[in-house]
């Protein structure tokens, strides 16, 4: 299982829209938002690294996203985490 | 084969077996001793302890320093304890060193592992206090500074640096340790009110860096004008002049220049 912390910067004026849209993507959760700087911290969960990278590209491709950077990546082979039904 | 050759062969085989056994036992034993004797960051020694390597060799583990300590500070490490088995150490969070001026523990040592030449407890270097600023209440802005107030060398070993907190109209009182004076007695660690002490005493070699001989910091002494830098030593005459042919890089330089 892979977890990554992604910092998303929204275009001015589209912050709310981005915040609302991100959780729709598979495995993506919005954790923090900072309206002042139009930034959103999301955590993405995916089964493989490839999926993780695809997910990042999806976010980057969202209209209104200025930038999305993977700041933190966690690769879990921890059996207590893997395979747990969410 | 005749008897004598068999005996001879037996003898050789047996000798080789014994040597092999001795070698393998010796190897394991060596490894065991090495790992035991390896200093651990938290193994604080009584005042006057020699450098860890020498201390490890010289300490005879007799416990006379333990007996001499009036505060029950010292104990001999048990197997799997924080220090090598049988050697005296203390855990400041439990009982710190109260820095007796007459150094009873050092005086009691028969083996010289605790340096009999130490005569001023303030010169003891049992460890060095290190502050975890992230979990230090004072560094986080609370008015705690307990370590500063309990420090027997308050104002020298621990000093308070006051800084404006900027975010509000309050100052932060930052305790800072000066390795030049800290004896590692551990009263600070003992007294620290956080759940796990935010100030710990560790062996200096585990926490102190070294700048390197090629650079000189503006040190305190020269800053206050008390001592000027010593003049540079004359170059040693024993260093022979390098042979010109063997100069590093010459081979490369003498190659043909690139087109």
């Amino acid at each position: 299982m892979n977890l990554s912390g992604i910092l998303v910067t929204a275009a001015s004026g589209r912050f709310d829209e981005i915040v609302a849209g991100l959780p729709v993507l598979p495995g993506v959760e919005v954790h923090h938002t900072d309206a002042a700087t139009s930034r959103v911290v999301v955590v993405q969960e995916a089964p493989t690294i490839e999926d993780e990278v695809d997910g990042l590209r999806r976010i980057q491709a969202l209209p209104g996203v200025v930038a999305a950077e993977m700041v933190y990546h966690y690769f879990a082979d921890d059996p207590s985490l893997a395979g747990t039904p969410l | 084969m005749n008897d004598s050759s068999r005996t001879r062969r037996d003898f050789l085989v047996k000798g080789a077996q014994m040597a092999g056994a001795a070698a393998s036992v010796g190897f394991i034993w060596h490894a065991l001793v090495k790992s035991e004797a390896r200093a651990s960051a938290g193994a604080l020694r009584p005042p006057g302890a020699l450098a860890e390597r020498d201390f490890a060799a010289q300490c005879i583990k007799c416990g006379q320093c333990v007996r001499a300590c009036p505060y029950g500070t010292l104990s001999l490490a048990s197997v799997a304890g924080p220090a090598a088995t049988g050697t005296p150490h203390f855990e400041p969070r439990t009982v710190p060193c109260y820095m007796c001026p007459d150094l009873p523990c050092t005086r009691a040592c028969p083996s010289g592992a605790l340096d009999p030449a130490l005569d001023d407890v303030n010169r003891a270097r049992m460890g060095l206090a290190v502050i975890d600023e992230e979990h230090c209440l004072s560094w986080q802005g609370l008015r705690c500074e307990v370590c500063y107030r309990v420090c027997p060398l308050r104002g020298k070993a621990i000093v308070i640096n006051t800084e404006s907190r900027k975010t509000s109209r309050h100052a932060v009182f930052e305790p800072m340790v000066d390795s030049e004076h800290c004896t590692g007695c551990g009263l600070c660690e003992k007294s620290c009110p956080t759940e796990l002490a935010a100030i710990r005493v560790l062996r200096p070699e585990f926490v102190q860096g070294r700048i390197g001989a090629h650079y000189r910091m503006q040190d305190k002494a020269s800053r206050s004008g008390q001592a000027a830098d010593a003049p540079a030593a004359a170059p040693s005459p024993r260093i022979a002049a390098p042979k010109p042919q063997a100069a590093p890089g010459v081979d490369y330089l003498n190659q043909a220049a690139p087109p």
Binding site: - | H30, Q58, C109, S111, P116
Partner: protein
Amino acid sequence: MTSGHDRPRVVRHFVLPGTLRGKLHAWRFVIARRSVQIATLLLFFGTLHWGWKIAGRPLLAGNLSASELLGAIPLADPFAVLQILASGHRPGREVLTGAAIVLAVYLLLGGRVFCAWVCPMNIVTDTATTLREKVGVRDLFHLSPKARYWVLALALALSASTGVAAFEWISPIGILHRELVFGLGLGFIAVLGVFLFDLLVLRHGWCGHLCPLGAFWSLGGPAGQIRVAFDDASCTRCGDCVKVCPEPAVLNFTAAARNGMVLAGECTNCGRCVAICPESSLSFGLRARRVAAAPIAHEFTQTREPR
């Protein structure tokens, strides 16, 4: 036959007397040894924990590695000091003096007197042996009792190579003694190891085969003044003594008969053989008195006793 004497035809064996008095007599050396061992421990313990003093001076401060008697007389383990010297360090004068004193005393008493009368590990290994005999455990493998001299040599070599007193850093004896004097900790695991080794693996495995400290004192043994005297005339060769002896090799009847006493360095003067000899052929005696007639020679060149 190495002796010219005739032997009684009836070979009697040792029988534990039924009376308490008789039992106590048979056990007298065990009782005495335990008393000395425990008393020594107690002296250390009492001085540390209860502040025992005589004339205002601490009675016996420290432990078997090094101590101070009455705040004045230093005592130290000569083997430990030897290792420190081998490691290339020069221990303090106090320790050197202490080691010399202890060495002198044991040389006088018979080196391995330490093993049977002072060493706390002796209690552990004796217990293991007793238990072993009751249960009837057989040795797992054979090991020469001479192995301990290798261990001794290794200890000194490792001291030189590691720069620390190699045996002192792993010594189960030191661990046991410190645990007993200074408080109990995990060290008993090491002691338990020795106990199990002696119980399940090898009879007298530790003291009789491996312990380098015992080996060290063995080397000094021949100089000991108190020895087990042997009266060849009354001996029936019943072999009871050999059975109880933790160091069977020392009971070489040929050598003993020739010398009139047991001179082998490995003998610990434990007195087991003396206590059980049905003919009272064995007794403690002073070397000076008994052996004046017989020259000291060839303790180590034994010939096999016919069976």
